[in-house]
Amino acid sequence: MMKMSSKNSLESTVLQPILKVGKGYTILALFLLSVVLLGVFAFLTQLSQGLAATAMRDKIFWGIYIVNFVFFIGISHAGTLISAILRVTNAGWRTPITRMAEMITVVAIMVGATQILFDQGRPDRIFNLFLYGRYQSPLVWDLLSISTYLVGSCMYLYLPLIPDLALCRDRLAGQASRFKLAIYRVLAVGWTGAPEQKKLLERAISVMAIIIIPIAISVHTVVSWVFSMTLRPGWNSTLFGPYFVIGAIFSGIASIIIVMAIFRKIFHLEQFLEEKHFLKLGTLLAVTNLAYIYFTLAEYLTMGYKLAGEDKELLTMLFAGSQAPAFWAFLVLGLFVPLFMVVNKKTRNIPGLVVASALVNVGMWIKRFVIVVPTLQVPLLPFDVGIYRPTWVEWSLTAGSFAGFALLFMLFARIFPIMSIWEVREELETEKEKETEKVIEVPAQPQPKWTEVFPAKREEAR
């Protein structure tokens, strides 16, 4: 079915949301906007009252802002890391997915970095990080790594967009608004599809795809080091770097599945986002799920066997104490139920995967809460256990952040093609070529797929 789809139907399907959207889109956007405005109001309240408007106090000094921060930075791995890995390993099925994944990355980092602004209480002091930051501090490692990742992700999103932007510039002339056309014209930087341009672009994309992988890994490693460079119970772990990275990829894949399902539905992309794409991502989800279960076991078993220092208090709180509901919810609903759903044949379909992914994301948010808050509750001095119950300000900012995440995504889809048209087209052509080769029984020449993308390159290869 896919190979039958013509060039025009691909273009029109993908470009459709840019030109015209339904009523549902507008209603949803307005709803999200109102939630964002609630968040803005909460932020203004927090600005005027200071962090006293939150439940963070001397003992629990990191709350759900930091939970959100870790969560969004984790989601951001969806994108760039997965799309880059799939690109480098030359997985042909990736083409309809990469754009959305990369969009998730960029939006998630932006929203994630904003959480730091909320958590600061005095956002004007963020510049102190630049003025007085010392690289001896893990917080400055965060600054270096996340800003590098954000810029890298934007470029990695932008580069494959160039041919599509040129397409928009050419095809939508007279249809789209002047503003949009101006954006396309500037961002397309005069792309004409000339062989030399393709060569340049191809080289830039492959460089970015390779360089972005270690940067993405460094980001979540450094985020985890903010915790594990301390002697706090539960944070004092050498495992945290890889544990966080795997967790980020895990929740990132779940996010892609959810976003894909939503876009497939509202923008009618069923023709391109087939079930096989979901199932392949489902396999990746199951693999990272198993890895995360393994890491979780390794983390808690080694800690619980030794019970050094305050670990006993922490683990008691997690396993059977006040945080037990959160901990077991994460473990059962966030890890084992999704794994079962992905593995089980009956639920191994698009709705099943979407439910599993939603559970994974909820579970991973809870997991970040379980990492951040209970550790701070354990007193290091002979005091009572700390208590943390987020206020409406914190919940509103959290809701606003999630709404903002979705809204930014929707706005993005209104301006830019949500699927990489030229890459999908090349992939379709490759498949078609293979089909014809089979028919005339000519042994298929094993060729790297990227050479198919650029005829010039193919000439060289031959």
């Binding site: 930051g133 590098t148 810029v151 470029m155 961002l187 005069g190 030399e196 340049l200 672009l201």
Partner: protein, 387 residues
């Protein structure tokens, strides 16, 4: 507190090495059978602790006329037969030792003789020691020097530092000399701590020597070991010199042991104050976190600090951001391809729109990269107040 020095030398000479050692007391006007027998007995029974020259035990200066005179004839005999616990075991047969009364007297006579004091002067006051007798002491010493040429037992003495705190580093120094007092260079000294393995248990003391380190003697015959004791209180340290490598032309074997008591005080916190950073060999001085110093430092004094990690991190960040700028330049080249093929048909302003984005991108990326790099490279000097 003065240094508390306790010097006890033990030379467990093998038989072959024993007979020449006896030459140490061969000087003086000693003659006659009793003195010769005493000399023989001394070398086999006493020299192992007291040294061939009788000067190894500070509390018993057997070669000193003053010391002998203070003791008196009877005192010396009593000391040998009944011993001086804890260090000196009783030697008299009546006390379970191996020496008969005659043997003891012979040894005593030999000692007096070697010290150059006549039998008449024994038991007399110190004042009675005449200059002539002192001169004999010199003669004794010079005789020792001559004896080196034969082969003299080396001597080892260990000194523990004073004002020593738990957890603080102090230097144990052992000096190794030939019997004649010549420093021995390049010899291996092993240091031990007499350690009680079951501190606080009532059921007896289970202790042994644990090795705490090794050092090689320098040209002054000194071997120093830096050691930070983990225990407070009175500790016993030991230096051992096993065998001789023959550097000084002497061939000896056996083990020389010297012990020293160290009084370790506990000031409560020093032991747990860890250093900031790990000292690693490098071209420049740096540590990950600097130790704050109390004295105000001149600005930029610490520019060399923290340089290496900053350099590594800076190069990494610079490399990544340079790649970004390079890719932005690639985008510029993409737009140039367009400009070259369309220059005849487009307006100038249009062209500028093409170049605008890539150039802006390059500039912004470069500025951001420089900002991040400046954070890294100014890191050591942002908090001068902490110095």
């Amino acid at each position: 507190m003065n240094m508390r020095i306790c010097l006890v030398a033990l030379f467990m000479a093998l038989l072959g090495a024993l007979s020449p050692t006896g030459a140490a007391f061969a000087a003086g006007d000693g003659s006659g059978d009793a003195v010769a027998a005493g000399k023989q007995l001394f070398s086999t029974k006493c020299a192992m602790c007291h040294g061939a020259a009788g000067d190894k035990v500070p509390g018993a200066r057997l070669a000193s006329p003053e010391w002998l005179s203070n003791k008196g004839d009877d005192g010396v005999i009593q000391a040998i037969s009944k011993g001086k616990l804890p260090m000196m075991p009783a030697q008299g047969k009546a006390q379970g030792g191996t020496l008969s009364d005659d043997d003891i007297k012979a040894i005593a006579r030999y000692l007096w003789n070697a010290a150059g004091i006549s039998p008449e002067a024994r038991g007399a006051d110190t004042a009675q020691v005449s200059p002539v007798q002192s001169a004999n002491v010199d003669k004794l010493n010079s005789a020792n020097t001559e004896a080196v040429q034969v082969a003299v037992a080396p001597s080892l003495s260990l000194v523990a530092p004073t004002n020593w705190y738990r957890g603080a580093e102090g230097a144990l120094s052992a000096s190794l000399t030939t019997g004649a007092g010549q420093p021995m260079k390049g010899e291996n000294i092993t240091f031990y701590l007499d350690y009680d393995f079951f501190i606080g248990l009532d059921s007896g003391r289970v202790s042994d020597s644990i090795e705490i380190g090794r050092a090689v003697t320098d040209e002054n015959g000194m071997a120093r070991l830096k050691y930070a004791p983990r225990l407070a209180g009175d500790l016993k340290f030991e230096a051992r010199y096993a065998g001789v490598t023959g550097t000084n032309g002497t061939v000896q074997s056996g083990v020389l042991v010297s012990t020293a008591a160290g009084k370790i005080e506990d000031d409560g916190h020093r032991f747990y104050r860890s250093d900031a950073g790990i000292p690693m060999p490098s071209l420049v001085h740096y540590s990950l976190v600097e130790t704050p110093s109390l004295s105000p430092a001149a600005p930029f004094k610490h520019l060399t600090d923290l340089k290496l990690p900053a350099l590594i991190l800076g190069l990494l960040i610079a490399g990544i951001w340079f790649t970004y700028v390079r890719i932005a330049y690639g985008i510029l080249r993409i737009s140039r391809v367009y400009a070259m093929s369309h220059v005849h048909s487009t307006k100038e302003s249009f062209e500028q729109t093409r170049f605008f984005l890539p150039v802006l991108l390059m500039v912004v990326l470069a500025i951001f990269a420089l900002t991040l790099l400046s954070i890294i490279f100014t890191s050591p000097d942002t908090h001068l107040n902490l110095r």
